[in-house]
């Protein structure tokens, strides 16, 4: 029995950001950043499975790649294999005002070098979604699965072959598959090869990026069973990235829900499915077709994911949220988003002068258009909370000044033991 004190955290992530530059023009000037991962923090304890769910484009795959060391982080820290005292030291330093980007206790993966770096790399492995593109079509299975052992000088010659066969047998393949190419296998078998490769160096943490979404349900069940069996045998830690809620419910101990680069809710699997605390989680659960549930409440979500280069203020989900309140961060961009379908409203728009995301002057070419916008803002099809969040709408000739109530970014807050959600509401209305 491990006590709390000597329980090691396999990976601690603090305020992690990964921004990709958007380049424009002949000179490749940086015009902005896509904030794929924008301030994510969580811990991975040894032996647990953390599920990471969200829609496409929410940054879950990027997060997985940063944790695996395949992409450098823009800022924030990823700490590998730290003990409980070190973790509390880290957290108190961050609360004390230190920046996660500056804190270094010898476990920061981007500052590791030499032997320490190799130890991190071999202990953090990844299984990719598309086994077609993640296995080199010109390499034999023996090369693919044996390569990590060779690179880390674990084995060579006949021992290498024996170790490779052993690995293949663990994932349900065998010696007869050694000298074949990836294209000779079915999708399920290829995913088994990927898993064998990831397990070759006996890692602590395996990052599974949609490992079964390209597979049929009967094969998916085989792979999920295999993953669970391997986790039991080797006390592996899994980060299970998926969009399939049924799969993650089956596999994960804890679930983190991502939306537009941030975690909006984190809870144990049972708690999360029993009663989501964030409207986005609720929407995901309702949209998931499930064999066991009734048809009641099955419904989709309106709108599209906003541009991650310009994420909404306040709560990032407020543009699509059915429970949105006045405090959710209504801003100038929402004026355009809500009214862009009104014909001819913005046709005569000449210029927008922004003082902040909440405060701007919209100048039109004629006075009637300006008055038209002001009255459209009070129309019935504009959400009530958005109207209530308007501090000021004034028309001066051709210019409309709009100011919304300023709201800080909504942060994750504790909602009971081991449970966090980033929502201004304490609980969702029934």
């Amino acid at each position: 029995m491990v006590t709390q004190a000597d329980q090691r955290t396999v990976m601690a992530v603090r305020d992690l950001k990964k921004h990709f530059p958007i380049k424009e023009g002949a000179l490749q000037r940086v015009a902005g950043h896509v904030r794929a991962v924008d301030g994510v923090s969580f811990d991975l304890q040894r032996g647990e499975t953390l599920g990471l769910v969200g829609e496409s484009g929410c940054g879950k795959t990027t997060l997985g790649r940063v944790l695996a060391g395949l992409e450098p982080a823009t800022s924030g820290g990823v700490f590998f294999d730290i003990s409980a005292p070190q973790r509390s030291e880290l957290d108190s330093a961050l609360i004390g005002g230190d920046n996660a980007s500056d804190f270094d206790n010898g476990h920061r993966v981007d500052r590791l070098a030499g032997e320490e770096w190799r130890r991190y790399r071999r202990n953090t492995q990844m299984v990719f979604q598309d086994s077609f593109s993640s296995l080199n079509p010109r390499h034999l299975v023996s090369d693919i699965v044996g390569r990590p052992l060779k690179v880390h000088k674990e084995a060579s010659g006949s021992t290498l072959i024996e170790r490779t066969v052993e690995l293949l047998e663990q994932v349900g393949l065998g010696r007869q598959h050694l000298y074949r190419y990836p294209h000779q296998f079915s999708g399920g078998q290829r995913q088994r090869i990927s898993i064998a490769r990831a397990l070759a160096l006996d890692p602590e943490l395996v990052i599974l990026d949609e490992p079964t979404s390209a597979l049929d349900v009967s094969v998916q069940a085989q792979i999920l069973n295999l993953l669970h069996e391997l986790q039991q045998q080797r006390s592996l830690t899994f980060l299970f990235i998926t969009h399939d809620l049924s799969v993650v419910r089956h596999m994960a101990d804890r679930i983190a829900v991502m939306y537009l680069g941030r975690i909006v809710e984190e809870a144990s699997t049972n708690d999360l499915f029993a009663g989501p605390k964030h409207p986005y989680t609720d929407a995901l659960l309702r949209a998931n077709p499930d064999l066991t549930d009734d048809d009641e409440g099955f419904r989709g979500l309106e709108g599209t994911v906003p541009d991650p280069a310009r994420p909404p203020q306040g709560c990032r989900f407020h543009t699509r949220c059915v429970y949105a309140t006045t405090d959710c961060g209504w801003e100038i961009d929402d004026v355009v988003l809500q009214l862009e379908d009104t014909p001819a409203l913005f046709d005569r728009l000449a210029d927008v002068e922004r003082r902040s995301a909440f405060d701007a002057d919209l100048r039109f070419d004629d006075e009637s258009s300006a008055a038209g916008l002001a009255s459209a803002l009070q129309a019935d099809d504009v959400p009530g909370p958005m109207k209530a969040a308007l501090d000021q709408v004034s028309v001066h000739g051709q210019t409309v000044s709009i100011r919304f109530r300023e709201v800080p970014e909504v942060q994750l807050t504790q909602r009971g033991p081991d449970r966090q959600a980033a929502c201004v509401l304490d609980g969702l209305p029934e």
Partner: protein, 434 residues
């Protein structure tokens, strides 16, 4: 062709829009003949949603594409079978709102020209005009494609033409199938219209004709035809709840999100109010939240248009939500077909049982998912045996000796020797749980 009592009973419940009879489509390959679809039988009733589920490579897409003869031949070989289609039109006594004449379906069938409605071999004794989609001429088929039978494809990014605006892609349907109505809406007398204009309304004008059309006597009519088509496109887009259809019309597919593109496809498919809509994995490329919206939309439009839908998917949980009846396919054959509730609550075929048990849910312990062992068999020149025998937990001697046929079990049909003892050999047995 004899009619079983069960069949005749069903036809009185809801008339059959389409029937697939012993469809076999094979493909030539280097390794041999691939029996992709090998004896598929099912019916689609008026106004219902039939779910067609199965794993990758089981032949569900080939079956769907056969309806419109979209399977490339060669390498495809049409071996045998027929797809019978009975075109319908709005009920004359109620105009589509539902009355006793049309048994509240809103549509009635055309009368069979061969027997005048008394029932003959051609119409399978239904008295309705019956076309074999695999035999009619390409010209007749063009009249049906997009008009009486429409299709929604899996990947809207690939199915829409990236070089054409949404306006011209959706308008094409109207030009192809509703040219006379377009002329009438443009104020042109259809019977005495100049061939220049009728060709324009069919989008068949040549360069020289276009030049003539831009000159005064024709110009106003030409513009009116374009305007009529645009109005119809806008109405079709608005029906699929696309916000601001007038602006979307001038966009190109890459400017729209995946969900929006799929809505455009649905607008295109339902533009001519078809009798049968074939949806081939319409939501597989979409996020769950968008998927739920698209499904709501399809069923809403289906209720309004009273269209029959064949919904193809590999996702059983989804089909359960969508379909009234479900057909389960395995390795080119249908193994079980019947009412969705019955199939999902009490599957009879071992494959259906296996598939349902393999879906991760709350009731299974982690690591104890009931996976179906093994893989789908090669479909190259298969032996005359049950295709599932190699993976079936109940297989017996007879399963390897002959193919089980799809025969009635209660209200559904199952192809398994457990339910129909084989003619010879020892059949499989199963402990029936109450």
């Amino acid at each position: 062709m004899s009619v079983t009592p069960l069949d005749s009973q069903l036809t009185t419940i809801a008339p059959l829009v389409a029937s697939v009879r012993d469809l076999r489509v094979h493909f030539r390959s280097k390794a041999g003949i691939v029996h992709a679809v090998d004896g598929v039988d099912f019916d689609v009733r008026d106004g219902e949603t039939l779910g067609l589920v199965g794993e990758t490579g089981c032949g569900k897409s080939v079956t769907a594409r056969s309806f419109l003869r979209l399977v490339p031949m060669p390498p495809g070989i049409p071996v045998s079978g027929s797809i019978l289609f009975r075109p319908r039109h709005a009920c004359p006594s109620c105009g589509g709102s539902g009355c006793s004449t049309c048994s509240f379906g809103g549509r009635v069938a055309e009368v069979c020209p061969a027997c005048g409605g008394s029932g003959c071999e051609i119409c399978e004794h239904t008295g309705a005009e019956t076309l074999d989609l695999l035999k009619i001429s390409e010209r007749d088929l063009r009249e049906i494609r997009g008009n009486r039978i429409a299709m929604i494809f899996q990947d809207p990014g690939k199915a829409l033409n990236p070089a054409l605006s949404i306006r011209s892609q959706v308008a094409e349907v109207f030009y192809a199938h509703r040219s006379e109505e377009l002329l009438a809406e443009a104020g042109v007398d259809v019977s005495s219209a100049s061939p220049l204009l009728t060709r324009r309304a069919r989008q068949q004008s040549r360069t020289a004709e276009n030049a003539l059309l831009s000159l005064p006597p024709f110009r106003s009519h030409r513009n009116a035809i374009t305007k009529a088509a645009d109005a119809r496109v806008a109405a079709a887009l608005a029906e699929t709840q696309i916000p601001n259809p007038l602006a979307v019309m001038d966009r190109y597919p890459h400017e729209l999100s995946g969900g929006m593109k799929q809505r455009v496809m649905i607008a295109q498919a339902l533009a001519c109010d078809p009798d049968l809509l074939i949806a081939d994995e319409p939501t597989t490329a979409l996020d769950v939240t968008v998927q739920a919206r698209i499904i709501e939309l399809i069923s809403e439009l289906q209720d309004r248009h009273k269209t029959a839908v064949v919904y193809i998917s590999h996702d059983l949980s989804l089909v359960r939500k969508v379909a009234d009846r479900t057909a389960v396919m395995y390795a080119g054959r249908i193994v079980e077909v019947g009412d969705s509730d019955q199939i999902f609550h009490n599957p009879e075929h071992p494959y259906t049982q296996g598939l349902l048990a393999a879906i991760p849910g709350t009731h299974q312990e982690r690591g104890k998912l009931a996976a179906i062992e093994g893989t789908v068999p090669e479909l190259i020149d298969p032996e005359p045996a049950c295709r599932f025998a190699g993976r079936c937990p109940h297989h017996a001697e007879a399963c390897w000796a002959s193919e089980p046929q799809l025969l009635p079990v209660g209200e559904r049909k199952v192809a398994c020797f457990i339910h129909h003892p084989p003619e010879s050999g020892v059949g499989p047995t199963i402990e029936k749980t109450a």
